[in-house]
Amino acid sequence: MTLLSARGIHVHFPARGRRGAVARAVDGVDLDLAPGEILALAGESGCGKTTLARSLLGLIRPNAGTVSYDGVPLKYDAASLKRYRRQVQLVLQDPTGALNPRHTVYEAVAEGLRIHGLTDDEPRRVAEALARAGLRPPERFFLRYPHELSGGQRQRVVIAGALVLEPRVIIADEPVASLDASVRGEILALLLRLRDELGLSALVVTHDLGLAWNIADRLAVMYLGRVVEIGPVAQVLTQPRHPYTQALVSVLPSTLGDGGSRRPIVLTGETPDASRVPEGCRFHPRCPKVTDGTAETAGVAEACRTKELPVLDGVGPAVACHLVDGRLPAAGGQA
């Protein structure tokens, strides 16, 4: 069953500096989120993960493709979007920037209720949301200002602001990136608890694969506008099949096996430019399997350079790699 789904999403922006050039920030993505599921969307800066999340929230209207909620395609008129956002709420990365410094905690959390005209029982709803976000007793926080709170408490206020509308989906963009390490675990534990207690679904956008390991059920890895590997977290992270995922996992600081068995695969260069997506497999110019001749030996090097890979289905497990298709014809979709 799917609660939130994206089909063939394309988001294009005018490229910086060059007239007429287009950056394909999201370049064909399918993604499904089931009720009560935590899905992590990982990738490096510029891979399109935040743009994809914003289009799932209805903040960006994709150039092509459909976002559906509960099987119904999203409409982009103001009233439909407003209804949609009661169900699908956003949690931002930096709680200090997300909170108005002149609003009390109570006002910050009640704002969503007022926008949606839910004026009955406001204090109870606010108190309940704060308590759910772990700020107890909630009344003690009502009149506090953001500057009086620690970073972790501020992030809880932001989460309470999302919870107060009783949404079914939370989309969190790097929810703990700006928090101290010891506080992070508590916020992640909160997201897990909300899923267990309220059956909340969450899409967590992150560059941190450790976070995915900590809380997510499924993981989608993005590279240059496409999902290149998707599947259950344990499978993708312990047996990554796409050379890009393999490289990302290999550079994680690890203490398992004393680093002896796992040589880090450090890719050279930076994430390429979304306005110059390479032909063939978009990863091939940086792919270690192309450089070291593995692709050549397997007879797919030509395909890597010239043949575009199909869009992966939104559930997985699936891998967008000519090499994997060549080796395992049954798995990972069609070549």
Binding site: G210, L248, S254
Partner: protein, 321 residues
């Protein structure tokens, strides 16, 4: 190479004294890599700035910072200028702010070279290109402005500058924090290789204990202005002796480790306000293992196994047991 003894740094804000560093000892040998881990407000960045006397005026500093036997805290300003860049250099987080946006990269790398007359003026251009090559940037990048580079490239430029005058000590303060994992891996590999090749001592400061444990030889964990645990990097990360070091280590899950799968671990409470530290062990209000005497004993570092020290009342018992 670098010896720090009983370093104390106190900021004064209005009438309140804020002790940011409260008695820190460090020893780093040539070619050794020391990691300093801790969270915001623990005093690690103050410590880094103190090592090169970069703290704001009016800050109270005491103790000894010996760089090759010379005390940084008492040296003349002229001598200090010579030591900065040439003896020891520092790479800060956020290279966008550390680089001058209106000057080309090449000119900024050349500046310390010209100032310290490390190479004859005629050779400066060649040396700049050599430094860029060392950090994996093409020579034509010397003509770029900082905004034309990506975050990872700017951080490489900072490293090139830090190495320009062939210092004996490099201090990296959250030098890779803002970078993507792959770029971080590139920069860490670069720092490790260059410091090893040249026998440069490295003090690497980060909130990320997992990165430090895989990059450094030794690690010191700071909490509330003091070192609460220090020892071989890998051991401190895998079998921490201090409850705070344990909580910090657990906050970085090891991918593949079943114990952390769907079990994020954090620490309740918040770090203490340095201006109002709790009595006894400053970690005691958040500590799961706190006992009555933790609130009254000011615990200092004590031996906790071979080459290791920790500041916790439980350590003696465990070592004895």
């Amino acid at each position: 190479m670098l010896t720090v003894r009983d370093l104390r740094v106190t900021y004064h804000s209005g009438r309140t004294a804020v002790p940011a560093v409260r008695g820190v000892d460090l020893d780093v040998a040539a070619g050794q890599r020391l990691g300093i881990a801790g969270e915001s407000g623990c005093g690690k960045s103050t410590l880094a700035s103190a090592l090169l006397r970069l703290l704001p005026p009016g800050t109270e500093v005491s103790g000894e910072i010996l760089l090759d036997g010379e005390d940084v805290l008492t040296m003349s300003f002229g001598r200090l200028r010579a030591v900065r860049w040439a003896g020891a250099s520092i790479v800060f987080q956020g290279a966008m702010h550390a680089l001058n946006p209106v000057h080309r990269i090449g000119r900024q790398i050349a500046e310390p070279l010209l100032l310290h007359r490390t190479v004859p003026p005629a050779r400066v251009q060649a040396r700049v290109e050599e430094l860029l090559a060392q950090v994996g940037l093409p020579a034509w990048r010397a003509n770029s402005y900082p905004h034309e580079l990506s975050g990872g490239q700017r951080q490489r430029v900072m490293i090139a500058m830090a190495l320009a005058c062939e210092p004996r000590l490099v201090i990296a303060d959250e030098a890779t924090t803002a970078l993507d994992v792959m770029i971080q891996a590139q920069v860490l590999e670069l720092i490790t290789r260059l410091t090893t090749e040249r026998g440069i001592a490295l003090v690497m400061i980060s909130h990320d204990l997992s990165v430090l444990s895989s990059t450094c030889d030794r690690v010191a964990v700071m909490y509330a202005g003091r070192i609460v645990e220090e020892g071989p990097a890998r051991e401190v990360f895998t079998s921490p002796a201090h409850p705070y070091a344990a909580a910090l280590a657990a906050a970085f899950p090891t991918v593949g480790d079943e114990a952390s799968r769907l079990r994020p671990r954090g620490l309740g409470g918040d770090p203490p306000d340095p201006a109002h530290l709790p009595p006894g062990c400053p970690f005691q209000p958040r500590c799961e293992r706190a006992v009555a005497r933790c609130a009254s004993t000011d615990v200092r570092l004590r031996p906790a196994g071979a080459g290791r020290h920790a500041a916790c009342v439980h350590v003696d018992e465990e070592v004895a047991a």
